[in-house]
């Protein structure tokens, strides 16, 4: 369970271009549920997602992860939480070019110091699970859009997170692939993962997977 309390996020404080990205956000996300954030671009859904995913700290307000207050944790602890609790799927897939697909999947676990052999085994298993096992040695720039998306999902799952955070996951996918993605997300939810999805794609918020839709506008919840 993640609980946000009066979250406020300001960029460029005290400068002429000061910008309030989020204001007065109170939100509770239950475990094993799927929540979609919608709203036009600039509405603050990405900023909210990054605060929920422990990527950024709010300027003010409190965040509770389970029973633990994580609001003002130093970055090194926040990263540890992010690494073990959240798995991220990005709009642009954000795979690293020039290194193999397998390595891409393994990278999030490098800082944990897990043994190379066991890490490789887990990564290979995940790739096989998403039918991209044959691409393990390819470079990501040779993959099709759907394959890249599935590799990105495998990467998000390598540290076995309890929450999956997806930012506009269908933005670069056609309808067929978008539906395929929603099916994968459904499976993950059934496995007990919590889903946080920012998207303005109707395929996402009309999907049966999503339990709750939170609409955003001008940095506030509607």
């Amino acid at each position: 369970m993640i609980r946000l309390n009066e979250i406020r996020k300001v960029f460029n404080t005290g400068k002429p271009n000061e910008f309030v990205a989020l204001q007065g956000i109170n939100l509770t996300i239950e475990a094993h549920r799927a929540v979609a954030l919608t709203g036009p671009s600039g509405s603050g859904k990405t900023t909210l997602l990054s605060i929920l995913g422990c990527m950024a700290r709010p300027t003010a307000g409190r965040i509770l992860l389970g029973d633990r207050e994580i609001t003002s944790l130093p970055e090194r602890f926040l990263t540890e939480i992010r690494r073990s609790t959240f798995g991220f799927i990005f709009q642009q897939y954000n795979l690293i070019k020039g290194i193999s697909v397998l390595e891409n999947v393994m990278i999030p676990a490098y800082p944990t110091g897990e043994k190379h052999a066991s890490l490789k085994e887990r990564a290979t298993k995940l790739l096989n699970l998403f039918n991209v096992g044959s691409k393990a040695d390819s470079k990501p720039e040779w993959l099709s859009g759907g394959e890249a998306q599935r590799v990105a999902i495998a990467r998000a799952l390598i540290n076995n997170p309890s929450v999956i955070v997806a930012d506009e996951p269908t933005a670069h996918l056609d309808t067929r692939l978008s539906l395929e993605l929603m099916a994968i997300l459904k499976d993950l939810k059934e496995e007990g993962k919590t889903l946080l999805i920012a998207s303005h794609d109707p395929i996402v918020h009309s999907s049966e997977v999503v339990d709750r839709v939170v609409a955003m506008r001008d940095g506030q919840m509607q």
Partner: protein, 379 residues
């Protein structure tokens, strides 16, 4: 705990190496300039150090005291009549006159040192040459070398043998000759010598003896072996230091390049670090990666630079700075140095090159490492 820290380093190093290889062009140009700077500084250091060591090797056999006559502050020929009174000073074991001088060989444009050796006096007309001389003149045993005497006439001397010595600094320009031939070539007056050399039994008496000589003959300058050593040391260090300072110009250019490379992260690199941070790398993990990156680059440049400098100084006769460092005469025959490389030199080189490079990369690495993890979502 320790095991996982080890694994973590291994993972990060693996990733760093593959990152470096992915950006070959950019890293290669940096490596080339870095290597070149290290090569230049190392060459100067190896060179000065080796010449110094060579000179030491020669001087350890040198006489304890050399007495020169001065004339208007310049080195002058010393009368042989000075020998007797000096021999009578207590503690002086022996006094010998020395005859030596420089001979300029116009055909080969080289300067040779002619030294009279007693053993040669039995065979006038014959000379003994160092292997360096033999190499330069392309002559062998029994060859004939013409010497142009003071009056323009020629003296043909036959090579009795070719000798080698521990240090080529000596044998590269040395010709041993008989007294008769020496005096003939230079019209050297019979009652003088170039200088006098003394053997002294007890090293503690050196200063006292030198003082006595100076009182006896105020126009002479007694020089102790230690003083020669000291002066060589100072002069070579000074020259080496000077060249290093000049080279810093080059080094500075390199530092600017390094700075530019490190600060100017490409959009691609920024994105990559952003991804790493977003998916679970912490600032210190990225710093660790940057540390290994710097270590790999520095180590490679350092090793290549050292090897190249070694080859340059000891195999290629330091063609780049010959005249700057050697310079006791501009036209000097070619010679090879005995290799001397010590940890001391390597540590110095490290301080002059790797330390400044590393310092310039710290802040940019940190800036890269603190890229916001949510950058990848905002882009």
């Amino acid at each position: 705990m320790t095991m996982s820290a080890f694994e973590k380093h291994r993972h990060v190093i693996d990733f760093t190496l593959s990152s470096l290889l992915r950006r070959k062009g950019k890293n290669f140009s940096l490596l080339a300039v870095y290597t070149f700077v290290i090569f230049l500084v190392a060459s100067v250091m190896f060179l000065t150090h080796s010449i110094k060591e060579d000179a030491y090797m020669v001087l350890t056999d040198a006489p304890e005291i050399t007495v020169q006559k001065l004339m208007a502050g310049r080195h002058d020929l010393i009368p042989l009549s000075y020998m007797e009174p000096i021999r009578e000073i207590r503690g002086v074991q022996s006094v010998e006159p020395r005859l030596w001088g420089y001979y300029f060989d116009g055909t080969n444009k080289a300067n040779y040192t002619l030294v009279v050796k007693k053993e040669m006096n039995n065979t006038p007309g014959a000379i003994s040459v160092g292997n360096g001389v033999a190499r330069n003149l392309l002559v062998k045993e029994n060859g004939i070398i013409p010497f142009k005497a003071y009056d323009g006439s020629y003296l043909f001397l036959k090579i009795k043998d070719v000798f080698s010595s521990e240090s080529e600094l000596v044998s590269s320009d040395l010709i041993l000759i008989s007294e008769q031939d020496f005096r003939k070539i230079f019209a050297f007056p019979p009652d003088v010598a170039t200088d006098l050399v003394l053997r002294v039994r007890n090293p503690r008496e050196l200063t006292t003896i030198a003082t006595k000589i100076n009182q006896m003959f105020p126009d002479t300058r007694p020089i102790l072996r230690e003083e020669i050593l000291r002066t060589y040391e100072a002069v070579f260090d000074w020259r080496g230091g000077l060249v290093i300072i000049i080279l810093w110009g080059a080094a500075l250019a390199f530092v600017i390049l390094a700075w530019d490379r490190a600060t100017g992260l490409s959009a691609e690199e920024k994105r990559e670090i952003g991804i790493l941070k977003a998916i679970g790398w912490e600032t210190s993990d990225v710093l660790l990666m940057k540390f290994w990156e710097g270590a790999v680059i520095s180590f490679s440049a350092f090793s290549f630079g050292l090897l190249l400098a070694y080859a340059h100084v000891y195999f290629a006769s330091f063609i780049l700075f010959e005249s700057t460092i050697k310079g006791w005469s501009i036209i000097y025959p070619q010679f090879r140095l005995t290799p001397f490389v010590s940890i001391y030199q390597i540590a110095t080189l490290f301080f002059l090159t790797v330390v400044p490079y590393t310092v310039t990369t710290i802040a940019p690495s940190w800036r890269a490492a603190t890229i916001d993890p949510d950058m990848v979502m905002r882009a």
